[in-house]
């Protein structure tokens, strides 16, 4: 399917120059203008879901107002228009992660579905009794449970790479887990609960020495750093759109074409077939083989628009700004008596998990909410990480490039208030 730019809002504007202009970027995000409980919204729950810029909202509206129809199945004008926009978004994803071909980018509803697709398509076909699958101690449930289900079904064995107290994976332990029984490796690029950035490239190289395919969970990395799947040489890479400024229901699992070709389909239905009789069905070529039924067309087109948006800002400066917010917030919170930071890896994205002596994260979350501050309080769908640090839960502030130092000040002041209430 040929890719085409379908409207001017998808065109990249020139990168913004000089210093990071946070106020200008904030103006792109309408949701940030509101007040909560009478206070300006301080949105620090970006690792759970990020906000959507106006250009992405507009792109969805244009689709729904002018272009909506079902894709891949009509000779009429609107179906062609919708198909062009949808496949155009796939081309944008291809360039965003530097895939060799657009057909290696399978649209899914998020990282979770992407991982499940690989588990079903690859795992259920190729994993056998006694095989070993390696994951890491910092995975969230989406990259644990599918592999557990597979191990249970096949009689395979799940191995877990341990981590140190800072929240860094122990590379020596990983290397000693790898052996000729290892048949699949899956781990996260960035930890959602700790912020740790893993040395994925080196870890992929290690697995490839044993000829083992590697899946990278990119849910937390895609919004913060450039991704080059060819440079990483990963076999699969999954991420969600809604954590990178696109609507929910959008996302990608990338797979090397030769692997995707030999995998089983994920779901059966329309769009994933070449021909169907009651005797035999012939599956469609990539990527349609993995996209049964009508997909979330508007959301995936929104993902394309979010990629355009990211390309329109200076991502290096954005990342530097996020890093500075992390540094400043870490310094401010560490200075508060009783606060302990969970996740102190040398390489981190802008995720700040913390606990306070004798105060449960839910109580912290409720008090922060009263001041208009949105943080995540809980186990972050990563209960084994909580068990590793022997805590029931954490509070987590996660920053995007539209957050400000002043917001960090509000956070720090309110945490001081929390400590006071419970003193």
């Amino acid at each position: 399917m040929a890719a085409a730019e379908v409207s001017s809002v998808e065109e990249s504007s020139p990168a913004r120059s000089s210093e990071w202009d946070v106020e200008r970027v904030r103006a792109d995000f309408p949701v940030l203008r509101q007040t909560v409980n009478g206070k300006p919204l301080v949105y620090l729950d970006n690792a759970a879901s990020s906000q959507v810029p106006q250009v992405v909202i507009d792109r969805g509206s244009i689709y729904l107002e002018d272009e909506h129809s079902n894709i891949h199945r009509g000779v009429h004008y609107l179906s062609q228009k919708a198909t062009t926009a949808y496949e155009g978004a796939r081309e944008k994803v291809k360039r965003f992660i530097n895939a060799r071909e657009a057909k290696e980018c399978i649209f899914v509803r998020g990282a979770t579905e992407g991982i499940n697709l690989v588990m079903h398509g690859y795992g259920r076909k190729f994993i056998r009794q006694g095989d070993e699958i390696i994951i890491s101690a910092m995975e969230h449930h989406a990259n644990i449970v599918p592999w557990q289900m597979l191990c249970e079904e096949k009689g395979a064995i799940l191995r877990v790479i341990p981590m140190n107290d800072a929240g860094e994976l122990l590379q020596d332990e990983y290397n000693s887990l790898l052996n000729e029984k290892t048949k699949f490796v899956a781990f996260t690029h960035v930890s959602n609960a700790l912020g740790t950035i893993n040395p994925v490239r080196e870890m992929i190289d290690q697995a490839h020495k044993y000829g083992v395919p590697v899946l990278i969970d990119g849910a937390q990395s895609a919004p913060h750093m450039p991704i080059d799947v060819q440079d990483l040489d990963c076999d699969f890479y999954a991420f969600s759109g809604h954590k990178m400024f696109a609507p929910t229901g959008s996302g990608i699992v990338y797979g090397k074409a030769e692997l995707l070709e030999k995998m089983n389909p994920f779901q059966g239905g329309g769009d994933m077939i070449k021909s169907v009789t009651f005797e035999k069905t012939i599956y469609a070529d990539l990527p349609n083989k993995f996209e049964a039924g009508t997909p979330a067309i508007a959301s995936q087109i929104g993902l394309g628009a979010a990629i355009d948006y990211l390309n329109s800002i200076d991502r290096k400066k954005a990342a530097a700004h996020e890093h500075e917010l992390l540094r400043y917030a870490t310094e401010r919170l560490k200075a508060i008596e009783g606060v302990r930071i969970i996740g102190t890896a040398r390489e981190k994205t802008s995720v700040l998990s913390f606990v306070i002596d004798n105060i449960h994260p839910h109580d912290i979350g409720t008090i922060l909410d009263q001041e208009g501050i949105a943080v995540r309080a809980g186990h972050h769908c990563a209960q084994p990480v909580m068990q590793r640090f022997n805590i029931p839960a954490t509070a987590r502030a996660s920053f995007a490039f539209y957050n400000t130092k002043e917001e960090v000040d509000v956070l720090a002041r309110t945490i001081e208030k929390v400590v006071e209430i419970f003193s």
Binding site: H362, I367, Q370, A377
Partner: protein
């Protein structure tokens, strides 16, 4: 901060700091474990039921201030009550925190448990307050686990 001070009253903060009957009950003949999958709160309620009356009750586990204080005050309220009275308190407490029962206009036996009425202004925290009660109810009825979901 008025709704907040309504939620985090001194009595609740005190029970959070020094929960009463916070231990495993060696003489328990009924117990149940309660989970709130949303936040990972977990507690076990132990009961010693004799002749359909709660002779002893205790709890242990981890949770937020609201769930801990609710559990602590529940053990005080339920101790010595008949099974039927304990179930009625559960239903009244549940009605109050979900806003179905107006504790000021409808006759009830809630007494000092009324300080939890502020919870209904915080919909996501209602389960924190009701989890211990759901768990006590499960223990009374011989269910081993319960969940707020």
């Amino acid at each position: 901060m008025s709704e907040l001070s309504e939620l985090y009253q001194q009595v609740i903060l005190d029970h959070n700091k020094k929960p009463r009957n916070f231990r495993k009950l060696e003489t328990a003949n009924h117990s149940a474990e309660g989970f709130n999958p949303l936040c990972g709160d977990q507690l076990t309620v132990y009961l010693n039921l004799e002749d359909d009356a709660v002779k002893e009750i205790s709890f242990e586990g981890s949770g937020c201030a609201i769930s801990k204080a609710a559990a602590s005050m529940m053990t005080q309220a339920v101790k010595g009550k008949s099974k039927q009275e304990a179930e009625r308190l559960f239903s009244e407490f549940h009605g109050m925190v979900t806003g179905e029962l107006d504790e000021d206009t409808t006759a009830n036996n809630l007494g000092n448990l009324k300080i939890f009425s502020g919870v209904r202004e915080f919909p996501v925290r209602v389960k924190c307050a009701s989890l211990p009660w759901h768990t006590m109810h499960a223990a009374l009825n011989n269910q081993e686990t319960t969940s707020t979901e």
